[in-house]
Subunit: 244 residues, 2 copies
DNA sequence: GGATGGCATTTTGCATTTATTTTTGGCTGG
DNA sequence: CCAGCCAAAAATAAATGCAAAATGCCATCC
């Protein structure tokens, strides 16, 4: 397994850098958990790569116990898979997995939209409007990174307005898994759908302003389904590093 | 902490019984995980009870390492909460938590219904019909346990028909958390709503037969919201062992 | 008499050690 | 020369041991 030697070395470097910032909370294993999660999301390790715990322990400068605990949690979160007596692998998402993830995200966002319409304040709607127009400006400027950032903030604002912490946590969990996928599929693929997505966001804002729960529910679900279709289309056109 | 001595003793007994049945998969910590989860769901430990790991280790007859790993996973699943340097407690669901759980379940079931309408086969619809009429028979017989069992099977059938394993796993996770709540709130409270629930299930079957995704989506969500209202109403009338 | 500070006990968190399983390399037999 | 098997090495899983943090208790001081 030399193919990931470089990646593990990179991991070591990453840790050296992040050791400065007091990332985690109190306990060591939570700190490790956060670092590992971030590392996996950023896609620095190829899909399906084995995660030799001994090597990682040396990189992190810790013992194997807290690392194993962190891996168990990450497995429960769906970012790694644990093969009995054979260690951990980076979970490789098949096309089916990706389809399913988008569907669940669609259901969660739809729920968030419905609840948000029941609970959102005028001030929060104004804040979303602001984000929306900033995002539109980014769209006109063809500033993709800014667009993505604002896009994320809008969706997060809707989830927050749903007043449901359990939903927010679950949403974050799935968003994290999808990020792992999205980092692989380069963001370029979004350009195909950019105009369409922008129009959908107009509808999202409109439904939110009118506090129409059922409409926002439906729009957000279809919005995610369109994202899904685009992602799968991209994957078919670029089966480069696919690991199905 | 003598208040839970009896409960832990009961735990020990439980394990002795279950040690016979080959519950878990291969690895020891997964076996422990399953046992602990089942034990927590059954509500044998009071809300907020401390879980001293040393005591549990003796009960299970294992070392602390696999137990700690299992506890970390259960914390990620939301069944226990880990206080840094202060061990694990049984997570006590506040009224807000319960409200949130029902909302998320509503979103997930709604999604399942929508997807099921797109994917379900005629044979599967026939199977649901069969379950439905059996459930109706149980309703007429006032056979609550049978009714509950069939009710669960119908909802499970819809989730399975959604053809989304990720959704199914997530659904199970939340269903487990709610079971922990439901075991506390005695099932008697359902009798208030029994007729109403039965009528809702007529609509569910109808929408499924017509494969009307948007309708089933909405019906299932409202179905869960009515369950939520009933559960919270019960909780208000019976604040017995409430641990808010 | 009440409150505060220090000490002892208990409990958790991490590291180290031991054992079991898997894998790989080499060897032997066909 | 290839296939199957055995053995050694490596990796993982579990257990134990050690150190640090927290809680409870007691004594002393105000």
């Amino acid at each position: 397994m030399t193919e990931m030697g470089g990646a593990v070395a990179a991991l070591g470097a990453e840790i050296a850098v992040e050791a400065v910032d007091p990332a985690g909370a109190g306990s060591l294993h939570e700190e490790i958990l956060g670092k590992l999660r971030r590392f996996l999301v950023e896609g620095s390790l190829p899909d399906g790569a084995r995660i030799p715990e001994r090597t990682l322990c040396e990189s992190f400068g810790i013992s194997r116990t807290p690392l194993r605990e962190a891996l168990k949690v990450l497995a429960a979160e769906g970012l790694v898979e644990l093969l009995p007596n054979r260690g951990a692998r980076v979970r490789s998402y098949t096309e089916t997995d990706i389809r399913e993830l988008f569907e669940v995200m669609g259901g969660l966002e739809a729920l968030a939209g419905r609840l948000a319409c029941e609970n959102i304040t005028d001030a929060e709607i104004a804040a979303v409007e602001k984000l929306h127009y900033e995002m539109y400006a980014s769209y006109m400027r063809r500033d993709l990174p800014s667009y993505f950032k604002l896009n994320q903030l809008i969706h997060k604002a809707i989830v927050d307005a749903a007043r449901n912490a359990t939903l927010a946590v679950t949403y974050d969990n799935f968003a994290t898994r999808l990020q792992r996928v999205r980092y692989n599929a380069n963001r370029e693929n979004h350009k195909d759908r950019w105009g369409e997505a922008m129009r959908e966001h107009e509808q999202i804002l409109d439904a939110l302003q009118r506090r129409s729960g059922v409409e926002l529910n439906d729009i957000l679900y279809r919005h995610l389904m369109n994202k899904q279709a685009a992602a799968l289309r991209y994957r078919h056109d670029h089966p480069a590093q696919a690991a199905d």
